[in-house]
Subunit: 217 residues, 2 copies
């Protein structure tokens, strides 16, 4: 079981504090706004009404048993930056900072945060991909070059076998799984004689730069 401190209970901070708590961790949250603290205190270990810019507060609630402190105050770059500075002074070993834009990310990274989080940008990138590639269900980058992509089986594949479609040759990807959507089952490493059924989803491994361009006419 790990110990976390979440500073800032905006939408991200509150969701994070509760999610960490549900996973069995010990979670302390700090926010200057009473209402935010009241809203979350029954779902986590402890919630404190305090100003994170007050060094004494930080010293009182953060010791070396804390695994990670997450600074979830993004709209005020000054506050976010100062809190990170104080946490570094306190010797906190792992700090995650939510940011409002790329410049804010550069500042926090320069100060030594271990990870920056920019939810609006990540989810915007994911949604943009899903809206653009309409049969795309999910895309997981595995390495800069490779991705696993979940794509709705094209109409033109239905009724044919993997062998006859010769996908590795035609498109350069390997089908590592076929999901039957109605039965919610996955056939992993399907045999080459597997026939594509309607209402199925392909899990493919491919080069990242190639999948937006697949044309399955």
């Amino acid at each position: 079981m790990k110990q976390f401190v979440v500073i800032g209970l905006g939408r991200f901070g509150s969701n994070l504090a509760v999610a960490l708590s549900k996973l069995g961790n010990q979670v302390l949250a700090i926010d200057i706004d009473r209402k935010k603290v009241e809203a979350v205190k029954d779902y986590i270990t402890e919630a404190v009404i305090a100003d994170a810019l007050d060094m004494r507060t930080l010293k009182e609630f953060i010791d070396n048993k804390v695994d990670t402190v997450i600074v979830a105050i993004a709209s005020d770059v000054g506050t976010s930056t100062l809190v990170v500075l104080y946490l570094k002074d306190l010797g906190v070993k792992h700090i995650v900072g939510k940011v409002r834009n790329e410049d804010h990310a550069k500042i926090l990274t320069a100060l030594g945060v271990n990870e920056v989080i920019y939810p609006e940008s990540d989810i915007a990138a994911r949604l943009a991909e899903n809206l653009t590639i309409s049969n795309l269900i999910a895309h997981i980058p595995l390495a800069p070059e490779y991705s696993i992509v979940e794509i709705i089986t094209p109409e033109t594949f239905v009724g044919k076998t993997l062998r006859e479609l010769d996908l590795r040759k035609k498109f350069g990807f390997s089908v590592i799984g076929i999901k039957d959507v109605l039965l919610d089952k996955i056939d992993i490493n399907p045999s080459p004689d597997t026939i594509f059924m309607p209402d199925s989803v392909m899990l493919i491994l491919c080069k990242t730069e190639e999948f937006p361009h697949f044309k399955f006419e």
Copy 2:
């Protein structure tokens, strides 16, 4: 090439408009704030300073050639809800709405949006998982029951073969790939005699409820 309209250029809306544009789509953005419009207009097809609550504005810029309208105004539930209502009246076929909490999501869903987006909650859930399971690199739910999980190869596996580790029996998962982090290469469907190297990452398929509990001592 698809046509999108993004209403609201907050952090999410601006990131989305630019991301959609980079993927080759036609993107029109609407925001009531001149500065937000100025900041994004060089990166997308067109950006308009206007009040989205003005039905004439919506009629002028949205026709049936638009594939999807994304309402990216989350802090004001009233504005978000009214804009969605107007878009439904205009017959927009696909609407995505950004929300500030679960109640907001219920309202937009009741009004008929096709998808709700809650970036802070999604990313908080993902970060909570990554912080809790320290060797976790990525987690892709494939179906409610199954997931692909990228986990750093435990020290205790290094130097041993898949066959001798007998992972399917011991842990109930299949290793569908092994990534060599230094060479950035992936061995898909590794043979049972593959030896785990240091600095590698396992891609495993497992039951979703099981992976937070793997103990690789």
